[in-house]
Symmetry: C2
Subunit: 277 residues, 2 copies
């Protein structure tokens, strides 16, 4: 028999959450950066690549597999975003970085332990800011290949020791939008559904590049337009034409009187992010 409550206070006093079905949540973070691959030619500039941070799992489940940094939410004390920041701080000692909610993953069997719903976040960082890695199981993986053919995306990640090959099928959810269902076709190395999170995150970043200034969260304070263009090119996965790129970017950056020299070719001006036009 149900009790009748007159006021919200009275109702809340009697409320017992443990009567209801509960579950656990995690926040998982896709930390993306752009790194330099050193060049063999003194004249040539270093080739840039995207890289993402992975952690080798010490414990079951998925012991020995790689996964995104993440952790269980403490429901009494923190929000999911705070949880993501805490995890990131613990793993990399980074704080004050760009963080954006990506998607909430909740397949029934995504965690073999019990029902765990995960809200994923994208984090962006300028690699120069990354000094010490706290967790020794943590490693940067370069995105050495990212290619889509016939709705199958092939991704190759490499950290210098391990190489991870992923293949993910994209199935159009409905003809009216560009939403896809991602299905793992090949994944021997990544735990949980994190391969799907990585692809979703890289695609989100690619899209946002075109209509926001999000890229500057991955840049140092001073940069050349050549460097900036390379970052665009590696994220968009295509070459851009110099004049067009400079036209678009011109209103967003500010030329400083600093120059970058000693590169075996004409020096280039250093720029700063100016803020939105």
């Amino acid at each position: 028999m149900e009790k009748e409550y007159k006021t919200e206070e009275e109702f809340l006093k009697d409320y017992d959450p443990s009567e209801f079905d509960q579950l656990s949540m995690t926040a998982d973070i896709l930390l993306i950066s752009v790194s330099d691959e050193e060049s063999n030619n003194y004249r040539k500039t270093s080739k840039k690549m995207m890289s993402i941070l992975l952690v080798k799992r010490d414990d079951f489940p998925y012991k020995g597999k790689w996964c995104l940094p993440g952790g269980f939410l403490n429901p009494k004390t923190e929000t999911l975003e705070e949880c993501a920041k805490r995890v990131l701080k613990n793993e990399t000692n980074l704080s004050n970085i760009y963080l954006e909610q990506l998607y909430t993953y909740d397949a029934l069997d995504r965690d073999p332990r019990t029902r765990v719903v995960s809200t994923s976040y994208i984090a962006l960082v300028d690699k120069n800011r990354l000094t010490e890695m706290i967790n020794p199981n943590t490693s940067w993986f370069d995105v050495v290949l990212l290619e889509e053919k016939n709705n199958i995306v092939d991704i190759t990640l490499d950290n210098g020791k391990d190489t991870i090959h992923l293949a993910i099928k994209k199935e159009l959810r409905e003809k009216t939008t560009d939403r896809y269902k991602f299905i793992e076709v090949k994944n021997d190395a990544l735990a949980f559904d994190h391969a799907l999170v990585i692809l979703a995150g890289l695609e989100r970043l690619k899209n946002k590049l075109n209509y926001t200034d999000i890229v500057f969260n991955m840049m140092p304070e001073y940069f050349t337009l050549g460097e900036l263009q390379q970052v665009y090119e590696v994220i968009l996965n295509k070459k851009l034409l110099d004049p067009a790129f400079r036209r678009i970017i011109a209103s967003k950056v500010e030329k400083t009187n600093k120059m970058k020299t000693g590169e075996g070719h004409r020096p280039s001006a250093l720029f700063k992010y100016k803020g939105k036009k």
Copy 2:
């Protein structure tokens, strides 16, 4: 003291989820449609308005306030999207409608009972499809005003009996993107953080209109280009020029040999959605 496990099976056998902090989740649905406001002039076409579905709360907390249709997730049996579909089916008897995850809301105090994290969904429907409303507490509210001035958004909702005024402040999260933190400035009628969900959902729809064919999820099978243009105009909240609109839409629709007549002016051809160009 921790036990050492050799295999994942062994580990899972001993795993007890209740040892860890758990919480409840809900799925909340912002169901959006476009309705006709009948005209007083036999010649004039009816004015279109967006409308959203709200439910009057029968129980504590927020008893008597309006909220989005939503319900608690059963962690053992369903995904959040399935939960959203179940709720929608129960309230409106609708199934097979467009559903898209919007955002996961998780402020510590968003539910006075206990920690409840809510994943919100946008649902779109052609109002002609909506026949019977099952829950008598359910009502369509027209968006009679939606206006942004100095980063304050004013929204007025009206269901013919009740009028709801909302004011939400938009605070830019960082200068590199277009992300805003939404803060309720005025809200006497909506429960939880649902005013924020409504604004986020309407803005998402507005954005998606420009780069997807999402609008056709709100259209009947046959429609005139004038009707379609009106739907665009009410969602984008601005007038469009006929020739420009027709150029953009031309590749997406297919002219049928049906006509719409009897409107007191030149009849117009009926079109069908053709699928992506």
